[in-house]
């Protein structure tokens, strides 16, 4: 087993994973855990869907970071705001004050010019790391399909753009992204086939195409297997005839609903365990943190706290 303990020693973490596996919750939980340890933390949501706000206290997040807990700051990415900040910091020309309506046009250029939007987003988080405004920056990054384009943007820009300000700044960003002591990707998955397959493929692609280190995997929402093998056999017998009729007569039909539901959950857990085993077998050189299903009514701060506890228990 690979050690996971040093994950929060890095300064820039990209939390990614297939859509719907809970990567925002994991990003928020990593942020909470780091803040509990006394680090000054920034969590940045890349896709501006509002999921990160819901994971904290529900207040709307903006490009300007807000302190959602002591030492824990959260922001949501806006390429237009990032561009405005960039121009203010680096271009230093007086017309920047008038960039308001122009930013929309620039956005349009960014749409057409490969990598520009991505670099505005990635540039902002790298800048926060470089300037040491925070001890650790945790990015609720793009899903598996887009993360490679996102973290690979500086290299793409370097290859496509021969001169100019943007190109000049790709070098330090690439160096930061490729430094495993500083930067790492955390891939979140559930114990289901597609998320596991995408995780295995993403580990490969991140390594071959980006140079960003895969720091850890988080297997999220694992269904607990609370019956022994012998219990399962008994359960199977009880839910089949003739015992089924006997259960119905002795306790009532609702008892069959309970037994069927538990048998169903056991089966799901068993299928999940197979997928998890596949993940552990194929990716044997990255630490995997196991996070159980929290059986909470909804997401939000309580679940984030529980997931942070679970990650701490995993040695983080």
């Amino acid at each position: 087993m690979v050690e996971i303990g040093s994950l929060l020693d890095r300064r820039l973490l990209f939390v990614t994973g297939k859509g719907g596996v809970g990567k925002t919750t994991v990003a928020a939980a990593l942020g909470e855990l780091a803040a509990r340890r006394g680090l000054r933390v920034l969590v940045c949501e890349m896709d501006a869907k509002g999921a990160l706000a819901a994971a904290f206290d529900g207040r709307e997040l903006r490009f300007e970071p807000s302190e959602v807990r002591p030492n824990l700051f959260a922001m949501t990415m806006s390429t237009e705001d990032s561009l405005r900040e960039y121009l203010r910091l680096f271009v230093r020309i007086p017309l920047v004050g008038r960039i308001g309506p122009l930013a929309r046009t620039f956005d349009f250029v960014a749409d057409a010019a490969p990598g520009v939007k991505e670099i505005l987003a990635i540039g902002k988080v790298c800048y926060e790391v470089r300037e040491r405004h925070y001890d650790i920056v945790i990015v609720d990054a793009e899903a598996t399909g887009h993360i490679v384009a996102q973290v690979g943007a500086p290299a793409a820009i370097r290859d496509l753009v021969q001169v100019g300000l943007v190109r000049d700044q790709t070098a330090w960003m690439i160096e930061m992204l490729h430094d495993a002591a500083t930067t790492g990707a955390v891939i979140t998955t559930t114990a289901e086939e597609m998320p596991v397959v995408e995780t295995i493929e993403l580990v490969d692609t991140l390594r071959s195409a980006t140079g960003v280190d895969v720091a850890a995997l988080v297997a999220n929402r694992l269904l607990p297997n609370r019956l022994t093998g012998r219990d399962e056999d008994v359960l199977a017998t009880l839910t089949a005839q003739p015992a089924r009729r006997a259960v119905s007569e002795a306790i009532g039909d609702p008892a069959l609903v309970v037994l069927d539901a538990v048998a169903h959950a056991q089966q799901r857990a068993a299928v999940g365990a197979r997928h998890l085993l596949r993940l552990q077998t194929e990716i044997d050189d990255v630490a995997i943190a196991l996070v159980p299903e929290m059986f909470a009514r909804s997401g939000g701060p309580r679940v984030v706290g529980l997931v942070a506890d679970a990650l701490a228990e995993e040695g983080l």
Binding site: F106, D111, V262
Partner: protein, 391 residues
């Protein structure tokens, strides 16, 4: 609208194009494939399922393991149910964005020289991968193309994972606007006059400074070539846009009962309605059995953790198992159940949200395993195209 088990059956009987969309990870590809299987089994005619990068085992189940980007027919014997041959034919194809773009260029370029120049331009591959949401546009374009050939009675398209579902709906309009937009005009004016305008337009100065004029010129060279195809592209984009509003088209919005996909599904349904695009149904996928949710079951679970020894002994005798084993399992199951009920309650609330939308709701039960073989796909498809309220 309430749960309507016949919604999908009606759609496959009356529509020519079904666009399956929704949040990533909700089972869009599986639902699209299952509808295809259902359509081919129950309705005469030729059905095509166009999908993006399906799980390999799902592809194998459909018999399309090594076909690349082409369209292949699923062998009829694979669609047999109880020895009955299917009523229709099923074809499956995979969407290949790059090949699709190359084809578009070849079709719309005024001559082969232009086509070769564009295809050979170093920026071409990079730009087609990214600009104006080219995956989304390509999906809609291919749907139009395949429908227009008349070779298929029903085309079902599984849409690419979209960061924002609206990108898909707006892709044709954005493509059309791109050709009429300021950006293309500016990028393609001769370089000298651009220098002149740079003196008056602060934006261009900033763009030149930040991106570098060389890069802008590379982009301009490409778009000057690209602009030669304006007429064909714009006409085509208008047609594709019309297709999204057509009566023969219907959108299916797939969601699980998790918070994020439900949020996206609600948003998508509202936006489809606002744009006047036809919503066929909302499909709630991987739904836990409703019966788990009742208080009655919860009471039974509590009862099971403290059963009378006599009851346990009777059960043990009937099942021919040792009484202590029966007691242990009943207690364990009763103890585990409340957690499952919480999950079911959570889902039930989300299902109510989906049912309140202005579209028929179809629910698909959570299956015991992953849907990776034809049997599972068939079970799913019979749930989707069910004729009766049972099952």
């Amino acid at each position: 609208m309430a749960v309507d088990r016949r919604a999908v059956r009606r759609l496959i009987a009356t529509k020519e194009m079904l666009i399956v969309c929704g949040s990533g990870g909700t089972g869009k590809t599986t639902v699209a494939a299952a509808i295809g299987v259902g359509a081919a089994s129950t309705v005469p005619g030729r059905t095509l399922v166009l999908t993006v990068d399906p799980a390999r085992r799902l592809a194998t189940a459909l018999g399309i393991a090594d076909t690349g980007a082409g369209i292949v027919q699923v062998p009829a014997e694979r669609l047999q149910v109880d020895g009955q041959p299917p009523r229709g034919e099923l074809f499956v194809g995979m969407l290949d964005t790059q090949a699709g773009w190359d084809e578009l260029i070849n079709r719309h370029a005024p001559d082969t020289v232009s086509a070769t120049q564009i295809l050979g331009n170093p920026l071409y591959r990079n730009i087609t991968r990214r600009f104006v949401h080219s995956h989304d546009y390509l999906a809609m374009e291919q749907l139009h193309e395949l429908h227009a050939t008349g070779a298929y009675d029903l085309v079902i398209i599984d849409t690419p994972p979209s960061r924002n579902a609206l990108d898909l709906l707006d892709a044709p309009r954005r493509m059309r606007e791109f050709f009429g937009g300021r950006l293309l005009k500016w990028l393609t004016v001769p370089y000298r006059s651009r220098l002149f305008s740079a003196a008056t337009q602060p934006f261009y100065t900033v763009a030149d400074r930040v991106l570098g004029s060389r890069f802008l010129r590379d982009i301009a060279d490409f778009f000057i070539l690209f602009q030669r195809m304006e007429k064909g592209f714009v006409r085509r984009a208008v047609e594709v846009e019309q297709l999204l509003h057509d009566d023969r088209t219907a959108f299916l919005v797939v969601s699980t009962l998790d918070p994020a996909p439900v949020h996206e599904a609600r948003f998508l349904v509202a936006e489809l309605a606002r744009r006047g695009m036809p919503i066929g149904a909302v499909v709630a996928n991987r739904v836990l059995p409703q019966i788990i949710r009742g208080r009655v079951a919860n009471n039974a679970a509590r009862q099971m953790t403290a059963l009378d020894a006599g009851v346990v002994a009777d059960l043990a005798a009937a099942a021919d198992i040792h009484a202590s084993d029966v007691a242990a399992v009943l207690t364990a199951a009763g103890g585990v159940f409340p957690d499952l009920a919480v999950l079911a309650d959570r889902e039930s609330e989300r299902q109510r949200e989906l049912a309140s939308l202005d579209a028929p709701l179809v629910t698909l039960a959570l299956l015991d395993g992953d849907v990776t073989d034809l049997d599972a796909l068939r079970r799913l498809s019979s749930a989707l195209v069910a004729e009766t309220d049972s099952g």
